[in-house]
């Protein structure tokens, strides 16, 4: 790695259709980069005047200040027209890594979900160390408790406590959401009052308070950029 870095040029010039593209190594200091840019731009002479320059910082985050400093330097000394950074591109290497993670997650991550089927009747209680999936209903007086999330594929009419003892990120989801009480971590809320309605809803924490939303409308996980382990 060290050798490769040493061999790689700190700054390189690449011709692009209507301008100049400078590929720099953003890990180097601004002074060093300026020296390198001087070496590149001096031989260009008048070619650099009014040219559109794009500073390519490669993979990773673009340091706005670095691009600005270098841009000002180039404008002052070589009279270039405009200088801009390029938005970060999706990294192919990272994408491959993520795909590999997804492919192998079955091997590397032991399942932490308790999956149950049936009806939780009054007086009965299911406790899961982590996540709990129940294919069935929870009757009034029934109780389900989980360290992580709770997913009820049925009607939730009893008490549900997720994220015990204090995970505020946990959610409670039910296809028919009308619990008598819900708890997320240490927070407690009474079930939604009013006429019963069959709606797929979920409860989560927002600003230290429990909020219930329509699951499909709110889509709490639809904005995640890629599948995440829960």
């Amino acid at each position: 790695m060290m050798e490769a870095n040493q061999n790689k040029a700190i700054a390189q010039l690449k011709g692009v259709g209507d301008g100049l593209r400078v590929v720099i190594d953003p890990s180097q200091s601004a002074e060093l980069l300026q020296q390198e840019l001087k070496k590149i731009f001096q031989p260009l002479n008048h070619l650099s005047i009014n040219a559109r320059v794009v500073i390519d910082t490669g993979e990773g985050l673009v340091d706005e200040n670095l691009v600005k400093t270098l841009g000002a330097y180039l404008k002052e000394n070589f009279k270039v027209g405009s200088v801009s950074g390029i938005p970060p591109r999706p990294s192919a290497r990272k994408a491959r890594m993520r795909q590999r993670e997804l492919d192998t997650c079955w091997n590397t991550n032991q399942s932490e979900v308790l999956m149950m089927a049936g009806r939780v009747r009054s007086g009965q209680k299911i406790t899961a160390k982590r996540h709990l999936v129940l294919m069935g209903d929870v009757n009034p007086g029934g109780e389900i408790i989980a360290g992580g999330d709770i997913v009820v594929l049925g009607s939730l009419r009893g008490i549900a406590a997720c994220g015990q003892p204090e995970n505020f990120n946990a959610i409670i989801f039910a296809l028919d959401f009308r619990p008598s009480q819900i708890q997320i971590g240490p927070l407690v809320a009474a079930g939604p009052p009013g006429a019963p309605k069959q709606k797929a809803e979920f409860a989560h924490v927002e600003n230290n308070a429990i909020v219930v939303d329509d699951y499909l409308e709110a889509g709490p996980f639809s904005k995640l950029p890629w599948p995440e382990k829960r």
Binding site: R121, G123, P140
Partner: protein, 267 residues
């Protein structure tokens, strides 16, 4: 003879367990079965009053179970129905005097004598309930269309399932007018939560109070709505499981309907 032992239970008190036991027992006996109804509510006996037999009690279930008397001595024959026998509860003891073994042994003996043994379970889920359930092959859960009753019935159903008994459901005291107005849970709502097989729907009936006070079972009277429903439950228990379940509905009189139709009056 190898009789069936059926426990009639509800969890909550006052929903009509004893009334149902007396009437289903009477209806089964009128069908020609030899029936024993047993009052398991030791300390708070009621079933003798419902059958009008309170003045004939000499020995009780406690005596029979402890071997202080013969079963024949404890079993009181009904006044009118030949095949119906009552084994009354003791009023002076409490529920802890009997052990589960004593009850199961007693029921084993009764099984040889009777076609049906109906156990009238006390309210609650303590010793009295456990004793009643331990001896039972089948269970009938009585529930009224009230949230509290449904909750208790649900708990009891869970406990029965834990003992591998699949109970059947009776929804009692339905007031069709209130259901229609949306003021009362419908039997569909109850079944939706309890999710067990329905064996009967019994409408609210003022006659029940009269029948309880006079000690004459409703099923012996012809014009009682609740009696008719309870009789049909007995038929379903007695080898006619497919007998259709009648849903209590608001009965509008013929002339009222006619007049409303004629003058376009309100329903």
């Amino acid at each position: 003879m190898n009789g069936k032992t059926i426990v009639i239970t509800s969890g909550k008190g006052g929903v009509g367990k004893s009334t149902a036991t007396a009437n289903i027992g009477a209806a089964l006996a009128m069908e020609g079965n030899r029936v024993a109804v047993i009052d398991m509510d030791i300390g708070l006996r009621n079933l003798d009053v419902l059958l009008g037999l309170e003045n004939r009690i000499v020995y009780t279930i406690v005596d029979a179970a402890k071997g202080r008397c013969k079963i024949k001595q404890a079993a009181i024959k009904d006044k009118k129905i030949d095949n119906l026998f009552l084994i009354p509860a003791s009023q002076s003891d409490n529920k802890d005097v009997l052990t589960t073994e004593e009850i199961t042994n007693l029921c084993e003996k009764l099984r040889k004598e009777f076609d049906f043994i109906l156990l009238d379970c006390p309210a609650g889920i303590e010793k009295g309930f456990q004793n009643s359930v331990a001896a039972a092959d089948e269970a009938v859960v009585i529930c009224t269309p009230e949230v509290s009753s449904v909750r208790d019935a649900d708990r009891v159903i869970g406990l029965l399932y834990a003992r591998s008994i699949t109970p059947k459901l009776v929804v009692n005291r339905i007031v069709p007018e209130m259901v229609e107005r949306g003021d009362m849970l419908s039997h569909e709502d109850v079944v939706d939560i309890l999710s067990i097989d329905l064996i009967g729907l019994v409408p609210m009936d003022e006659q029940v109070v009269i029948s309880t006070n006079t000690g004459v079972p409703l099923v012996t009277q012809k014009d009682s709505k609740a009696g008719e429903a309870l009789r049909r439950i007995a038929y379903r228990l007695n080898g006619q499981p497919d007998l259709p379940i009648e849903v209590p509905t608001v009965k509008k009189s013929f002339w009222k309907t006619k007049i409303n139709f004629r003058f376009g009056g309100k329903k």
